[in-house]
């Protein structure tokens, strides 16, 4: 019921958040420099390692690493969120008070804001991917069927990461020191999502753990789908795991949100 009603607000939310994001296109572009540099650093490191190991590491040649990290750059841009950083600020400056008094769940406007930000910043990311491709010669073996499988993986990856991080952001209701929680989360996410290295290169037990946890399914998994690294069965299994985590995070949010709103209204701001 609430969701159906909220859906009607999305066109306007998207339009308005697009306006906000366009206001900040310059500072947004500067933010993007970090996002672009990170995969370039890892790509350079792994290419060097591959060359010194006679041309490949764990089956990845420098050109395959290039393809992996170009794709990861794109996917990571499409799925990352900043809600965990913003929640403390919202509580501190009373924005959350207003949000609580509106007859719509605040998560909807956040989704719109994130989606429109991604759309605006694609104007920076796509040229970056193209330029880096010229520099690093990635070997893309992308088939149309892989693209068809990639799009749902990407959409669910975004939703999954958004919901997980929105849930963790609620920690700001209980502690004023959320940056410690954020930092721990980002460290684990970094390793288990496939950003430091493709999951296939990690020690077996880490890779196994990553196969069950949500992090890989919001970054590395869509990349692996697009590059055709996975069998049809592995892709379907990945979808399944994505759906499970989306459901878990969704349920947790609806439970924790009530509690945290109650907590907030008990303490006041």
């Amino acid at each position: 019921m609430h969701w159906l009603r909220a859906l009607k607000a999305y066109p306007a939310f998207l339009r308005i958040s697009l306006l906000s994001n366009l206001q900040y296109r310059a500072s947004g572009a500067i933010w993007m420099i970090g996002s672009v540099l990170e995969p370039v650093v890892y790509l350079t490191v792994w290419s060097t390692v591959a060359r010194s190991h006679g041309g490949s590491v764990g089956g990845y040649t420098p050109e395959e690493f290039a393809a992996y990290y170009m794709m990861l750059l794109l996917v990571n841009h499409m799925t990352f969120t900043w809600v965990m950083h913003e929640f403390q600020y919202r509580i501190q400056y009373g924005q959350l008070s207003f949000a609580l008094l509106r007859p719509i769940h605040p998560i909807h406007e956040d989704i719109a804001l994130n989606v429109s930000f991604k759309a605006v910043q694609l104007a920076v990311i796509l040229p970056a991917v193209i330029l880096l491709s010229i520099a690093f010669h990635p070997k893309f073996d992308v088939e149309p069927s892989s693209i068809a499988l990639f799009l749902p993986a990407l959409a669910m990856g975004f939703l999954l990461r958004f919901l997980v991080e929105w849930t963790l952001a609620l920690a700001a209701f209980w502690t004023t020191r959320v940056s410690a929680i954020n930092q721990s989360y980002f460290s684990v996410q970094m390793l288990l999502s496939g950003r430091v290295a493709p999951i296939a290169l990690l020690p077996t037990w880490v890779a196994t753990a990553a196969g069950f946890l949500p992090f890989y399914y919001a970054s590395g998994f869509p990349v692996d789908v697009a590059l055709g690294h996975l069998t049809r069965e592995e892709v379907l299994r990945g979808y399944g795991i994505q759906l499970v985590w989306i459901t878990v995070a969704g349920v947790v949010i609806s439970l924790v949100w009530k509690h945290s709103a109650r907590k907030f209204t008990a303490v006041g701001s």
Binding site: F13, S20, Q23, S97, L100, L101, I104
Partner: protein
């Protein structure tokens, strides 16, 4: 009259950590955190009828804002009950939220970087207004608050007064039946305060909305609120007409004299507040007013004599500095 707000024994207390100054106290607080309970609102009961404008008076930290926050649904009370339009506010049902609004003078809900009109449009969607309703209400608010020049400006480029007008307009687009206004005129200049005040009055007359308002500015309360509620240290001290408040709490009367013969020592009649030329102001205890007036008329040649209550600000100040009078 139908009652729209009913509060019974409403209380709110906060638990706050207590810690002494210095490193030792900091370390001690790591092991055992000492806390203290602060009672922000203590067993307040009152009821408000539809269409009333009620002013909440009290110094900083008296519990006014806490009360408004409980009634608007932002705070959960520690004990007691409240019903606003038949809803329990802190459950924040959509049906409730659609009928109320909260304006906080020191906080803004407009989106900072985009034109005002887009923030308005966001409220149109959130409150599910039809295009026609929206258009009509917007036109009305634009006219009443003189907003036409401001609509296309980004919020960050507005002055404080302009922004407050827009905040108020945004808060009223959905035609709330109850307005919670927390210091709506804070920081505004006198003429902007006056305009906002007269707008609130008009809105109340036009729509029959109920208004609960807190303000530091007595002028707001005097101009707008036939009924005032005085809260001090979380306790409700007074609930009634402004005139009755003055009667109840002013312990003194002010006599303004116009004398025929210039200077005269008036201190035998009461406390001399001012004396310039033939004009003098003295203050006497309320119960002595009649007797002192008679003596003055007998002993002095008086052209004119006026008995008045001290300014309302002074009375309020007296109430708050002396506790219950």
């Amino acid at each position: 009259m139908n009652t729209v707000i009913q509060i019974d024994q409403l209380s709110k207390s906060y638990v706050v950590p207590v810690r002494g100054a210095g490193v030792r106290a900091s370390i001690a607080s790591l092991v055992r955190r000492k806390t203290r309970t602060v009672e922000a609102v203590k067993e307040i009961s009152l009821s408000v009828d539809a269409g009333e404008i009620v002013g909440f008076l009290g110094p900083n930290g008296a519990g006014k804002t806490t009360t408004l926050k409980m009634l608007s649904g932002l705070l959960h009370p520690t004990s007691g009950t409240a019903s606003v339009l038949g809803f329990e506010p802190w459950k924040r049902n959509n049906g409730f939220l659609e009928q109320i609004t909260l304006v906080m003078g020191q906080r803004n809900q407009l989106i900072w970087d985009i034109p005002v009109i887009d923030s308005f449009d966001r409220n149109r969607v959130i409150y599910r207004l039809t295009r026609d309703e929206y258009r009509q209400r917007l036109d009305e608010l634009v006219e009443l608050l003189e907003l036409s020049e401001l609509l296309s400006k980004p919020v960050r480029n507005l002055s404080l007064g302009e922004r407050m007008k827009c905040e108020v307009a945004a808060a009223l687009l959905h035609h709330p039946r109850i307005l919670f206004l927390d210091e709506p005129t804070l920081g505004l200049d006198v003429s902007m305060q006056r305009r906002l005040r007269s707008f609130i009055e008009q809105y109340n007359k036009r729509t029959g909305a109920t208004v609960l308002l807190t303000s530091h500015y007595m002028a707001d309360v005097v101009a707008l609120c036939p009924r005032v509620v005085v809260i001090h240290h979380g306790v409700l001290l007074f609930d009634g007409k402004l005139a009755d408040l003055v009667r109840k709490f002013s312990a003194q009367k002010t006599l303004v004299l116009e004398l025929e013969e210039g200077q005269e020592d008036l201190s035998r009649f009461g406390q001399v507040v001012s004396q310039e030329g033939s004009r003098a102001t003295i203050r006497v205890p309320k119960q002595d007013t009649a007797e002192v007036t008679a003596r003055i008329l007998r002993e002095l040649k008086v052209q004119d004599l006026n008995v008045a209550d001290p300014p309302i600000d002074e009375i309020i100040d007296q109430v708050f500095s002396g506790g219950m009078a």
